[in-house]
Symmetry: C2
Subunit: 337 residues, 2 copies
């Protein structure tokens, strides 16, 4: 285990000079620097990030808290975060937060607080006021993605405006029986996204005078979830909607598959829109509102780095909008007749 002291000895300098030479801080003559570098290379010196972390108080690690890794949106965000962090020389420590409150508490107390990370990025999770306080109290910047968390910077689309826009699109095509298939409002992981998306649909329906009691059905946020939900909703031709606003692209794809199964033509007999920009959307010809999760991840890292940098004080906590693109494909058209 060669330490910096060995490098120093070999180069014939003191520990402090060796440290300065290798880290680039402080004054070191060019000649000394190369001598130290050669010595380090010769004995295969690998600095201990643990030791430097103890000395500087920085771990160069960012904790990422996420509810799922196997759902498209989250995996994409994670990918963006990872590559941005690596480029910036940071490690990414992953904490998956399940519904289980005990494990959630454990992650917070035992891991995040233990000075193992310099900052936290929370994806699709609403932190409690207490959790936010405990992290902020430790001086750790936090950035959220995918919803709003009071008192911290969050990056997200405007969920209510998004579904309102999509619903208006369907209304403008002439649809009058529009339904929303989205997430369960009472779900642990809600993060208020589900309720806001439903609210957007309802606002647009109300504005168009198209409100009706069967405007919503809760389904799991997945292709099978959308599929079985749609089977139930579409099976009765009399009450069937002519258009569905899905809570996400996975649900929308499930709806399209269910429609095919039932022999319902999309879009001739049923229009479907989603939200996300899932990489299968194109294959299914899905009209959707693309958000770009991997870019959101990169943006979150950028915000974190600003808050870790020298001008940390300048950062203001606010809800930050992200880029979206409305992509019309083959799953939407005017209603039949």
């Amino acid at each position: 285990m060669s330490a910096i002291a060995d490098v120093a000895r070999l180069a014939g300098v003191s520990k402090s000079t060796a440290s300065r030479a290798l880290s680039g801080n402080g004054y070191v003559s060019e000649e000394t620097r190369t001598r130290v570098e050669h010595a380090a290379a010769e004995i295969g010196f690998v600095p201990s990030s643990i030791a430097s972390g103890l000395a500087t108080g920085l771990t160069r690690t960012v904790g990422v808290v996420i509810p799922f890794v196997n759902r498209w949106f989250f995996a994409e965000v994670l990918e963006g975060i990872e590559s941005a962090l690596i480029s910036a020389g940071y490690d990414l420590t992953l904490y998956q937060l399940h519904d289980d409150p005990v494990r959630r508490q454990r992650v917070f107390d035992y891991f995040l607080a233990r000075k193992r990370v310099d900052a936290v990025i929370a994806i699709g999770i609403s932190l409690s006021a207490h959790e936010v306080r405990s992290l902020k109290g430790l001086g750790k910047p936090i950035v959220g993605i995918g919803g709003e968390i009071p008192a911290i910077s969050t990056l997200s689309i405007d969920d209510e405006a998004a579904t309102q826009f999509l619903t208006e699109h369907l209304v403008s095509l002439g649809h009058t029986r529009i339904m929303h298939l989205g997430g369960d409002q009472n779900h642990q992981m809600d993060f208020a996204v589900h309720s806001r998306r439903l609210a957007g649909v309802r606002r647009a329906l109300a504005a168009a005078g198209l409100s009706h009691p069967d405007d919503f059905r809760a389904v799991p946020y997945s292709i099978p979830g959308g599929y079985s939900g749609a089977l139930a909703v579409l099976s009765n031709p009399a009450t069937r909607p002519t258009a569905i606003v899905a809570g996400c692209d996975e649900i929308a794809i499930g709806v399209i598959l269910a429609a095919r199964e039932l022999g319902i033509a999309v879009p001739a007999q049923l229009s479907v829109v989603g939200i996300d920009g899932h990489n299968l959307a194109e294959l299914f010809g899905l009209t959707t509102l693309e958000q770009h999760p991997s870019a959101q991840g990169e943006h979150a890292v950028q915000l974190i780095l600003e808050r870790l940098g020298p001008d940390a004080g300048l950062a203001v906590d606010e809800r930050i909008g992200v880029a979206i693109d409305f992509v019309v494909r083959r799953s939407t058209t005017a209603p039949p007749h």
Copy 2:
């Protein structure tokens, strides 16, 4: 920044006693222990894992190296690893390895070697002999998942036997024109999986006397990849195979979607089998060979913990088989006529 010294002072004991009381190592009277614990709780003592890591030489962190997080198999494995590690009190640091050799090198030299992790789990990545040596030289246990890596323990299905078995299944149903849609042999991330899966198909075909030149087409390992590959392969009714062995379930699902698009009935006119046990397999009625990636992830953690434990010396490096289940659904039957 309350340190253990503050706790000790408040409890009226020495630093060493406070440390023993809180960590549970060494002799401490019951009364002293509770006094120290109360003191720690009172000032909200949070131990610094950095400091204890420096003292013990352990980071209680495992590095996970993975080529993708947004592909089903990898996301599932990651999920299994994460939950097993958290239960064991370990952190998981994620390193995504792209094709880019420069970034790959950087991850190895700069991150993995820097005493930031106690062990490494490599998923779907073949490590070079040099990379293995450098990690083993640092005394870090390594376990691989999803393929073989010389000189380290790897957890994987027998890829060749798997496709051979699936092909034999199709042969036994009476199919004579069987084709494999799988991964590109020359891909950076090959890990030999692609070639072994192809070899299994060819072995079964040869054994049945059904070898033919058009037995393989390389496609991306994804639903769109399987879809467009299948469109090309199935478009000519004269040369079209009656059965397809897909390299993974995503490809198989793409094939099914393409068949539907072309009006080819599955399984009446085309049988399709996959490998993985993807969570969409059931929805598409896909016959597949399930491997259980999240269980593989948990198993890998278990192997790592054994190698980090006191009996580390007893661990033998070998290829370790994993559980598989053959699940017959609605995508396979006898060929037409």
